[in-house]
């Protein structure tokens, strides 16, 4: 599973992307956030306030209950500010 980070999520974690193999009990975005938060102090800081984080699964916006599977491209980022 490939995970991408953007904007201040990337800065707090200190990585633009990483390849991970979460345990099988990680089934959705919310579960993945909880698991990623244990990986480093940077991850914990980035995910400390889940309400400020948005996610995408395979380049489509996804809610916390969206399923994740091996081979997915997951992304975490702040609410968007383009335009």
């Amino acid at each position: 599973m490939r995970v991408l980070y953007f904007a201040w999520v990337r800065q707090k974690i200190g990585l633009g992307e990483e390849v991970i193999s979460p345990p099988p009990e990680v089934r959705d975005i919310a579960g993945l956030v909880a698991w990623l938060s244990t990986r480093s102090p940077g991850h914990a800081a980035a995910f400390a306030n889940a309400r400020t984080i948005r996610a995408a699964v395979n380049q489509d916006f996804a809610t916390p209950d969206h399923a994740v599977a091996p081979g997915d491209e997951i992304a975490f980022f702040p609410p968007v500010t383009g335009g």
Partner: protein, 154 residues
């Protein structure tokens, strides 16, 4: 249905050139609406730096443009969004919508820029003259502006 022109690029753009490109050789277009978003020099801003999600950005803009084409009878549509470092006064985003009549082009143009603000993965960072920087926070007003286009399939 027309194919919208969508570009995500570091380079600037010229409203006149893009307008001429959209209408060249056409005699069916009665209204061409445009929106250009510019970089303001608020609070001593030295530059805006725009980050995006390559791949998803183009796909998201494509879905938004396709929705605009499904809702209004457009005969042309161009969306250009810049990334990277943008100085105050420079353009950031262009939306062009053409139709037989003004209402469709004006409404579709407003729909597109409202959706671009809330539905496309771009993030703005403000750099100031004193060397500090901060990420721009999403605005509730932008969500409200998008919400007025109720019934969207997006």
């Amino acid at each position: 249905m027309i194919t919208p022109t969508i570009r995500v690029q570091e380079a600037g753009f010229d409203l006149g050139v893009e307008s001429a490109r959209l209408t060249a050789g056409r005699q069916d277009i009665g209204g061409l609406a445009s929106f250009v978003g510019l970089c303001r020099a608020d609070d001593g801003l030295a530059a805006l730096v725009l980050e995006h999600y390559p791949g998803m950005t183009e796909a998201a803009i494509g879905r938004i443009a396709a929705e605009a084409c499904a809702r209004w009878p457009l005969s042309g549509c161009t969306v250009i969004h810049r990334i990277g470092r943008i100085a105050p006064g420079e353009p950031i985003v262009l939306v062009l919508t053409a139709s037989s009549h003004r209402a469709a082009s004006l409404e579709a143009c407003a729909f597109l820029i409202d959706w671009l603000k809330t539905g496309a993965p771009f993030w703005k960072r403000e750099e100031f003259a004193d060397g500090t920087s901060r990420w721009v926070e999403a605005k509730a007003a932008d969500d409200a502006a998008t919400a007025r286009w109720a019934g969207s399939v997006l």
